[in-house]
């Protein structure tokens, strides 16, 4: 993947850097940066409102990005793609704009212990506010969702299920399609967090069949400040906007207004235009590499990282120990060295990782674990990066001996 690495200017500008923090934010290829640059240098006008040709061009590029993103996840119609600020923003839009209308006191909500704070925190807040009942499906000893417990909790007939596709701590990929199908059979509406899965695998929302799904641009080679909420056609009319203002209206009078059609109904104010165009370019870049090449590279790196980390007796790895159904996300503890200190020492050796709870404290609590170190990979990760991580971990051990 050496040829891929040359596409990422951050790698060129930071020689010797082992960037293993892609689950927090991935790097961006030159083509994404150029697409945003081109907008600012050639046609930086507002969208959906100008008659002049710059605005028309900007609108075309903007809507073209929506089509590309829609096609990328198998959306039947691009109007089901709503641009948001990030995954958390998308999730909150559903809690505020849909759940608040259809769920309330004595309604049941089911989530899992694996959820990112983007699901967990709005769910807790919503239940506190409305008196809805929250069930949390537990995890197994081998770092997977306890599916039998999940099915047991479905027997309580939850009205809403919020589920993570792949864990940003454990790396576990949940087999969500049958879970969503079972939840639907019990009458639940399902929201799927695809933040970690979209950047790493070919997905089709028609096959997975969630009712709401979301992800962030910045983990999938795209800029920060742009996220996506995908909504099944039948819920587009049920969902209410949570922000009111320009763009989202069809007409306004001094005493009333009429809503615009989806998706603009949910995109009040001037959107992040360059970021949307950048997201479109990122999707194009990933499609150019192709999922076969992508998957081959990732499987090889995941297997290599697992083998390398398992050789270190002082490393306690969280997450499935085999490469199957697993992302390149490796959270671990180093014996005798607090996570934050491991990350600092790795930084001194030019290895970028994250330390803490990674916006998923309940997962840590499920395993009675304190903050962890997390190394995460992407298309540009090499075995040399992993070797550098392993050497850095050995040094962290020596410093604290």
């Amino acid at each position: 993947m050496q040829d891929v690495r040359s596409d990422f200017p951050v790698l060129k500008n930071n020689p010797g850097l082992a960037y293993l923090d892609s689950a927090a934010s991935s790097l961006r290829p030159q083509s994404v940066i150029e697409a945003m640059d081109e907008y600012y240098t050639h046609y930086s006008a507002n969208v959906h409102r100008g008659i002049h040709h710059l605005s028309e061009h900007a609108t075309e590029k903007f809507e073209n990005a929506r089509e590309k993103v829609g096609a990328f996840i198998g959306s039947p119609n691009p109007r089901q793609i709503i641009f948001t600020r990030n995954a958390t923003d998308s999730s909150n839009m559903v809690w505020r704009g849909w759940a608040s209308k259809f769920l309330g006191k004595e309604k049941r909500i089911l989530i899992t212990m694996m959820e990112h704070h983007a699901h967990f925190v709005p769910a807790l807040e919503f239940c506190k506010e409305t008196g809805a009942i929250l069930d949390v499906a537990p995890l197994t000893e081998d770092f997977r969702l306890d599916e039998s417990k999940f099915h047991e909790l479905l027997e309580k007939k939850p009205d809403f299920v919020a589920l993570i596709h792949a864990s940003n701590v454990l790396g576990t990929i949940n087999n969500v399609q049958p879970l969503i199908e079972a939840a639907h059979r019990k009458g639940a509406v399902v929201m799927l967090d695809m933040s970690q899965s979209v950047p790493h695998m070919s997905l089709d929302v028609r096959a997975l069949d969630p009712d709401f799904a979301f992800f962030s641009g910045h983990k999938m080679l795209a800029p920060s400040g742009i996220g996506v909420l995908w909504v099944k056609e039948k819920y587009l009319e049920q969902l209410s906007p949570v922000t009111y203002g320009g763009s989202m209206i069809a007409q306004v009078h001094s005493d009333e207004f009429a809503l615009n059609d989806p998706p603009l109904r949910f995109e009040a104010g001037t959107p992040p235009i360059a970021e949307v165009i950048g997201l479109g370019a990122a999707v194009e870049y990933m499609a150019k590499i192709g999922w076969d090449a992508f998957g081959d590279h990732e499987s090889e790196i995941i297997a290599y990282t697992l083998t390398s980390l398992k050789k270190l007796p002082y490393v306690r790895l969280f997450g499935p120990s085999d490469a199957k159904d697993r992302l390149g996300v490796f959270a671990f503890h180093v014996a005798g060295v607090p996570a934050h200190d491991v990350a600092s020492i790795l930084d001194e050796h030019n290895v970028a990782v994250r330390a803490g709870f990674h916006c998923a404290q309940p997962v840590h609590e499920a395993y009675k674990a304190g903050p962890s170190v997390r190394a995460s990979t992407h298309i540009y990760t090499t075995k040399t990066d992993i070797d550098q991580l392993v050497a850095g971990l050995a040094k962290a051990q020596q410093v604290f001996k």
């Binding site: 600092s344 001194e348 803490g356 903050p371």
Partner: protein, 121 residues
């Protein structure tokens, strides 16, 4: 093995932190946490009149915050309330002998921030 941040003083205090045993007769308590890394510091203070007679820092977290709590505890016993509230972050970093970046400075200064918020109670 040398390291910029992990000088001997940090490692020594981390391994055997001073004033780390909970007080039974504290007058004031306060807790601060750092969400991003999961560090948490609980401070307990016992005064005799206006003088800090004893202190405990119960710290869960990284070596930098544990060492900072330990060094700070040695600096503050015997000080008056007005002396305590005027302790400057630079002074603590100097005692620790480190010049951390903004992220790690948060760890190093968490015990001081716990102390100051407890004193406001």
């Amino acid at each position: 093995m040398s390291s910029e941040l992990y000088r001997q003083i940090i490692l020594d205090h981390f391994r055997a932190p001073h004033h780390a045993k909970p007080l039974k007769n504290a007058d004031i308590e306060g807790t601060k946490t750092n969400e991003s890394c999961g560090d948490s510091v609980k401070v307990q203070l016992r005064f005799e009149k206006d003088t800090l007679a004893d202190v405990a820092f119960i710290t869960g977290g990284c070596a930098v915050s544990i060492a900072a709590a330990s060094v700070l505890s040695d600096m503050i016993v015997g000080k008056s309330r007005s002396e305590l509230v005027s302790i400057r972050p630079e002074k603590l970093l100097k005692e620790l002998g480190i010049n951390p970046g903004p992220a790690r400075a948060q760890c190093a200064l968490l015990p001081l921030s716990a102390l100051l918020s407890a004193l406001k109670k």
